[in-house]
Point group: C2
Chain length 172, copies 2
DNA sequence: TTGAGATTGAGACTGATTCTCAATTTCGAT
DNA sequence: ATCGAAATTGAGAATCAGTCTCAATCTCAA
C-alpha cells in the first residue's frame, strides 16, 4: 500500500520530523492510528487517502472540495466514506467542523491548534482567524453572571475584507 | 376573523395601546401593512393569521412550531406560506432569523429590540439573551485590526444552564 | 365589477448529509 | 498462510429543512 503523494523518505538525518509541511500530516496519521487502535476500528486504504488529502490542505475545506481532491487520487472513494472519515477525525480531535454562511460543513485541521474565531468576508468568502483572550474572558464573565458553564462557543464576524471594501460590485 | 387566543378587548381606557402584551403584535401589524403597501404586496388572511400567531409568542420559534400553532387556528394554511411570510417579516425588520444548534431556522420578534447574543443550554435547550457592549467593542477592534468592516456577527455560548449542571444525566 | 398581478397550497424538487445493505476488507487467532 | 468475526465500503435510497412550480384563487386600484 504505497502512499502515492508522499515522497519516499526524508533526506534528513533527524527522523523526528521529515519536513516542516509534512510533519502535521504524519503526526495526524500517528494520532489517527492510535485512535483507531483504541476504538477497535480498522485501518483502511480509503482513510489513509482521505487523511493525507485533508492534511495536505490548509484552511477551511468543505466536504465537497475534499471529496473532489480525494477522488482525484482515487476515483473509487465514495462521498459517504469521506463524511464518515471526517467524523472520525473530529472525534479523535484531529479536525474541527465549522458551519459558516452557507449550509455546508467545513473542516479545518485541529492538531496543535489553539481555539480561535473567524472573520468572514461576505463578498469574497475570505476567512481570517483571530484569537482574543479579552473577548474570551468577557464571554466567561457573561456566562457566569447567568449561571451557565460554557463548554464551547461560536463567534463569527461577517463583513467586508479590505480588498472587497473598495469594490462597488454588489456584495454576494 | 376573531383572534382566538387573544383576550376580547382590554379593560383599560387608554386607546393607544390595548394592553402591554398586545402592543407589539398590533404595532407589528401596522409596520407590516406599511411594508406591504411600500412593496406592492397584498394583504391576505393567511399573513394576518401567521403574524398574529408569531407575535403572540415569545422566544425563538422554529418554523415547524409556528406552523403547528398557525394550523391550530387555520388548518388550511400551508408550510410554504409560513416560510414565505417569515421571510417577509425578516425583510421588513420585524423578525430575525436565528440558527442555533440544530438545522432549523428559528425566528424571534425584532420590533423595538436591541441587538443581542445568546447563551444556549445544550441539555435543556434553554436560551438566555445577553448584551455586552464591551464584547461588541472588542469585536469591532479586532475587525479593524484585520481591515474588515463588520456588518453583523454571531456570538453563541453553549454550555449548561444552572439547572442542568446539577443533573448528572447525559447532556443531550 | 373587472382584471392584472400577487398569493396560495400541494406536491415536486433540491442539496447536504445519513442510512441501508450486500460485497469486500481487515486483523487477531489459528 | 488461512480463517472468520467484525468493521468498512460504495451505491443508492432515505431524510430533512427549505424552495420552487403551477394551476386555482384572491386582492385591490381603476
Ligand atoms: Mn479556523
Ligand atoms: Mn434572541
Ligand atoms: Zn472579501
Ligand atoms: Zn439547561
Amino acid at each position: 500500500m504505497p502512499r502515492s503523494t508522499v515522497p519516499p523518505e526524508s533526506k534528513r538525518t533527524r527522523a523526528a520530523h521529515p519536513s516542516p509541511e509534512l510533519a502535521p500530516a504524519s503526526a495526524a496519521r500517528e494520532r489517527l492510528a492510535a485512535w483507531i487502535a483504541e476504538k477497535g476500528l480498522k485501518a483502511t486504504r480509503q482513510r489513509d487517502v482521505i487523511v493525507d488529502t485533508f492534511f495536505s490542505q490548509t484552511g477551511h475545506l468543505s466536504v465537497d472540495d475534499l471529496l473532489n481532491k480525494v477522488q482525484a487520487r482515487d476515483a473509487n472513494i465514495g462521498a459517504a466514506t469521506v463524511y464518515r472519515t471526517m467524523k472520525i477525525l473530529t472525534d479523535a480531535g484531529l479536525a474541527s467542523a465549522r458551519h459558516f454562511f452557507d449550509g455546508q460543513t467545513r473542516y479545518e485541521a485541529a492538531l496543535d491548534r489553539h481555539h480561535h474565531d473567524h472573520l468572514i468576508c461576505t463578498r469574497c468568502h475570505a476567512i481570517v482567524e483571530f484569537e482574543n483572550e479579552r473577548i474570551e474572558a468577557l464571554q466567561d464573565a457573561v456566562a457566569r453572571q447567568h449561571g451557565f458553564v460554557v463548554t464551547r462557543h461560536k463567534l463569527e464576524l461577517y463583513g467586508l475584507c479590505r480588498a472587497c471594501q473598495t469594490l462597488q460590485n454588489p456584495p454576494r
